[in-house]
């Protein structure tokens, strides 16, 4: 790749290009590939470093302190503090996600268009489908092969089958997956079609330049028009990127609104309408070895309750993360680690109704205010209840729901049925994690309630586009990477047509 590392930039650095793209995750990489292949001179600026597959390590501690924003310790400011998981590397979160691919559901698209019919002028359903098709082809999306599924995934299939809930192997952008279970630490064999392995090399081959380890601190404007970005290399040098045609923000639903605010572009509800998919998990102990650290990281899902805003997935991860989920402390914890290999971990992802907001913090970083609604808590409780039911149906001897105020280990299937009715509804009883974030620069025709127009252009600043999931008018209830890429591709087409 045509890459310049910020660690090598010690003095003021100046670059000129047609389009400056902030962020190299799914949105930034898709826009970069599309624009570069159309002949534009593109510079992608990324805060994280570039890693080759052989540099990805097995243990999560090393992976998180190298590849995750704030080592996974970025949390919401409200009680309970919910971790917000993001990757920080060339390729963005695609480097450390489970490679799950979902098309934008039609019902979600209908919701968007019903609320703002003008969206359909750019996001026609056929156009979205064509973009999704192209993205899936580019990323080689295929269902998880049974040969690499591993016990954690096959047990979930067994549980769902027993309960009669619709389920299927997850479609993933990891066609040559070897089932190493290391998606969340970065695939050591390069089999995951993350952006650094697919669209960024494509963009680079078409002439795009990538500036890694350089954090953009400001979007520069002149006479209400974006003219470039200013960043800082990891060595502390000032980096200026002048953009003749404009600036595209693809830095995520957290970083993009914060960057706009820091740049003084605060018109409209920038940073408001933060939506997410909080996820919680349940562990179940089986008689035979499960070894959640083997097999496709997330290879099976239960989709029969998606209409309720609930989607269940097998969760594969490194032993260290599995260990943190083991019950107890002290000697109890040490003993629990002895049987770690027999625990399965499955999660439920909630299409939450809560709305939060994102602001730059007074002292560096971000301030994310987000509080789960009562409706969300009921969904979480129902999700946990069903997860437990799936575990028992799959043959678990006991389950560990990790819910404060409920038994730490449940062995009686009958007793577990009470959970859905009597389980706690306090947010602090659960330990959710957020991996999908949306809506903080939502698109729409009304500048009073949206930040960008239906064609992804900023309402108030010319030559400034936003391409990441912050433009989604709402959360979508499914894993967003493919939809982000598809919408980013449409954004790139709009940039080309505007030019």
């Amino acid at each position: 790749m045509n890459l310049t590392a910020g660690s090598g930039i010690r003095r003021r650095h100046h670059v000129a290009c047609d389009v400056a793209i902030v962020g190299s995750g799914p949105a930034g990489a898709t826009v970069a590939a599309t624009l570069a292949e159309a002949g534009l001179d593109v510079v992608v600026v990324e805060a994280g470093a570039h890693f080759e597959p052989e540099e990805f390590v097995e243990n999560s501690f090393d992976a998180m302190t190298r590849l995750y924003r704030q080592a996974g310790a970025l949390v919401t400011r409200t009680q309970p503090a919910i971790p917000l998981v993001q990757g920080v590397a060339v390729g963005g979160t695609s480097v450390i996600n489970g490679a799950i691919s979902w098309r934008l559901p039609k019902d979600i698209w209908c919701e968007w268009v019903d609320a703002d019919p003008e969206l359909a002028s750019v996001l026609e359903w056929e156009r979205v489908q064509a973009a999704l098709e192209e993205v899936e082809t580019a990323l080689g999306v295929t269902p998880t092969a049974p040969a690499v599924a591993g016990p954690n995934n096959t047990l979930l299939a067994r549980g769902a089958e027993a309960l009669g809930i619709e389920h299927r192997p997850i479609r993933r952008n990891a066609s040559g997956c070897l089932g190493l279970g290391r998606c969340l630490q970065g695939c050591p064999r390069g089999r995951k079609a993350s952006m650094d392995r697919t669209l960024l090399p494509r963009a680079s081959a078409a002439g795009a330049r990538i500036l890694s380890e350089t954090e953009v601190v400001r979007v520069r404007t002149r006479r209400r028009s974006a003219v470039g970005v200013t960043g800082r290399s990891s060595r502390g040098a000032r980096v200026e990127v002048d953009a003749r045609c404009g600036v595209v923000l693809g830095a995520s639903a957290l970083q993009t609104p914060a960057l706009l605010s820091k740049s003084g572009i605060r018109q409209g509800p920038v940073g408001d309408n933060f939506q997410a998919h909080p996820g919680v998990s349940v562990a179940g102990q089986f008689d035979d070895a499960v070894r959640v650290w083997t097999g496709a990281t997330q290879g099976h899902e239960v989709i029969g309750l998606r209409h309720e805003g609930l989607k269940f997935e097998a969760l594969g991860f490194d032993a260290s993360i599995a260990a943190t989920r083991a019950h107890g402390v002290g000697l109890e914890l040490r003993d629990a680690l002895e049987s770690l290999d027999r625990w399965a971990h499955w999660g439920v992802c909630i299409r939450a109704s809560a709305r939060g907001r994102v602001r730059p913090a007074r002292v560096g970083g971000l301030r994310v205010d987000y509080r789960l609604s009562n409706e969300d808590l009921r969904s979480i409780r129902r999700g946990v209840s069903i997860l437990g039911g799936l575990m028992f149906a799959a043959g678990a001897r006991r389950i560990s729901p990790s819910v404060y105020g409920w038994a730490p280990a449940v062995t009686d299937r009958g007793a577990w049925r009470d959970f859905e009715m009597h389980g706690p509804l306090a947010a602090t009883a659960y330990t959710p994690v957020i991996t999908h974030m949306f809506g903080t620069c939502r698109m729409g025709s009304d500048p009073a309630v949206s930040v960008v127009r239906p064609d992804f252009r900023h309402h108030h600043v010319d030559r400034l586009w936003v391409a990441d999931s912050s433009v989604f008018p709402s959360n979508i209830g499914v894993n967003p990477q493919t939809s982000i890429c598809a919408l980013a591709r449409i954004c790139a087409e709009e940039i080309l047509s505007a030019k």
Binding site: N59, F61, A71, G295, S320, T324, V329, G330, L331, Y404
Partner: protein
């Protein structure tokens, strides 16, 4: 007495001698810092008396009336005291401080000598030059010899150990980590290495806040002693109690330490697997 005996009989006599000499030198600079600012006439009187004893003319310059030179002089000796203290604190890490320290003192000696050559009627200048040259030589002799020994010795062998507060902090962290996940060897060193990475800053801050909250928690409940003074069984009981606290914040404090403990444990062990199922 036991500590003094251990100090005296430690494996490196050079490190011991360095600590003794530098303690004297640190005090030798720290005390004048105060007298230069608050009692300049004392220093001037001592200098004049020395000059007289060496057969010089009466030293009548009104040094004690000066504010400007007095403050500069006080800052100078304070800097010297700080540099000596830094070397004592961690000779290995702060060793580069030795060069400017010797430079400052040698330059002072040279200036005293120049003063004496320009005004031989004040032999106290020569005495001061000699004293500063000797001090510079002491800096070099004791620090260089001790540094050679320290390079080959573990921190545990040195008394006092390098960066005692940092080491104490790590020991406190290790005690808490062991209570949450009792494994041998301890996990603090593994955790420290990872948390010092740039992305680890937030987690590092959270972890140390949690460690100190747990360490001081027993003072607020019935134990009346910090965590590291508790018996093993008391530590375990307290950790269990905190882990099941009604307070979400207290539970999170334990959760942070548990997370770091589990991460550290698996960061150092042999990979559990590396092949497909």
């Amino acid at each position: 007495m036991k500590l003094l005996k251990r100090f005296w009989n430690q494996p490196s006599a050079r490190y011991r001698n360095f600590q003794i000499v530098f303690t004297i030198l640190t005090l030798n600079f720290a005390v004048p810092t105060i007298s230069y600012v608050f009692a300049p006439e004392t220093a001037q009187e001592q200098f004049a008396r020395l000059n007289e004893l060496l057969g010089g003319s009466a030293y009548t310059f009104p040094e004690a009336q000066s504010r400007f030179w007095r403050y500069l002089g006080a800052a100078n000796v304070a800097t010297l005291a700080l540099m000596c203290g830094l070397l004592q604190w961690n000779l290995r890490r702060n060793f580069p401080t030795l060069t400017p320290l010797i430079f400052m003192k040698s330059l002072a000696a040279t200036l005293w000598l120049a003063g004496y050559l320009a005004s031989p009627e004040y032999p106290a200048f020569l005495a001061a030059a000699a004293l500063d040259f000797v001090t510079s030589a002491l800096f070099a002799w004791f620090a260089l010899r001790a540094h050679r020994d320290v390079e080959d010795l573990n921190d545990e062998a040195l008394i006092p150990p390098p960066s005692p507060i940092a080491r104490w902090n790590e020991q406190v962290g290790d005690t808490v980590l062991r209570a949450v996940l009792p494994v041998e060897p301890g996990l603090a060193e593994v955790a420290r290495g990872r948390l010092e990475r740039p992305h680890g800053r937030s987690l590092r801050i959270g972890f140390w806040l949690a460690v100190w909250a747990i360490s001081l928690a027993p003072l607020l409940v019935e134990y009346r002693r910090p965590f590291w003074r508790l018996e093993l069984s008391e530590r375990e009981a307290l950790i269990r109690r905190l882990a099941s606290s009604k307070s979400w914040w207290v539970r999170q404090i334990i959760q942070i330490v548990k997370l770091v403990a589990c991460f550290s444990q698996y960061a150092r062990t042999t990979p559990l697997r590396s092949s497909a199922p």
